[in-house]
Symmetry: C2
Subunit: 175 residues, 2 copies
């Protein structure tokens, strides 16, 4: 029995606070540092738009981002919904293949919150994962009914954030 | 004015949930990916004991860990307290030098919780940082009086964790 045989649990990072995607990327670093294989599928985020994307790839992870360059506000377009469907299909493929020690499905809960996906589809993603693949789902708006399928659930709760006084997203910190 | 001129805020990741150190390491990846310089000082954690330490160094961060190999349980020894003092002095040196875009002081709040440091010393660390250095403090037990000195405060709140059913720390995931 190796350390990899102990893998296979499901994590959810949700809540309105800072640190959900960043914690998932931190886990990626930890898994890569242990010699594990990491794949990241991103909903809602465009490729090559964020500082962490290129870097985590350099560090040895596979990362595929399915968001459109224009961020979704309000009602998603047909194109946004199609992108989300493609992201889900890809996440399922990676999580069920058995080839990855850690699969991160970033912002999938936001896609749920925007009704771009059905919660049943995300249940299916979780249930179809390979037994020894650790799976991480992130994003605010995670419906509580998914908590029962997860082993770890952490709510990032915002106590203080500088946008309350007008600080907007900054390179290197928020993206 | 460059993007680096917008740096200089203070973050706290606290609470009993998973993802505090990992979120800080994720931020490190983001900052490195943006071309920023990152230094990490760790309290409570021994060097080369964790998967993320070697990896984040390979990714370009400076990381120095001041914990003793034997983890502190109960009352810290003189040696533990001395290690914490050294960690604090080093954190101050790095944060005040102006040479770093992001300085992470990992588990400093736990050292406070174990009374290995005085809260006044951590206030001083925050106040002595260079204006354009982004500073991140992590660890459960953060005293609320430090919240006023921070721009971001996020509580990682544990909703579910598998140790509740006997799953202990696993390589690649918890360390």
């Amino acid at each position: 029995m190796t350390w990899k045989d102990k893998l296979g649990l499901v994590h959810i990072y949700t809540g309105n606070g800072k640190g959900k995607t960043t914690a998932a990327f931190g886990l990626a670093v930890r898994m890569l540092g242990s010699g594990g294989k990491v794949a990241i599928v991103q909903f809602m985020k465009a490729p090559k738009a964020y500082g962490e994307q290129k870097k985590i790839e350099e560090c040895g992870a596979l990362i595929e981002s399915f968001g459109l360059p224009k961020f979704v506000h309000g009602k998603p377009t047909e194109e946004d919904i199609e992108a989300a469907k493609r992201a889900l299909a890809r996440a399922k493929e990676l999580a069920s293949s058995g080839e990855w020690d850690l699969v991160i499905v970033d912002e999938v809960c936001v896609a749920l919150g925007f009704n771009m996906l059905d919660v049943g589809e995300v249940r299916e993603l979780i249930k179809s994962k390979a037994p020894h693949t650790e799976l991480v789902l992130t994003g605010r708006y995670c419906p509580e009914e998914l908590f029962e399928l997860a082993d770890y659930v952490t709510e990032m709760r915002e106590i203080k954030h500088p946008y309350q006084r007008g600080v907007i997203a900054r390179r290197g910190v928020e993206y």
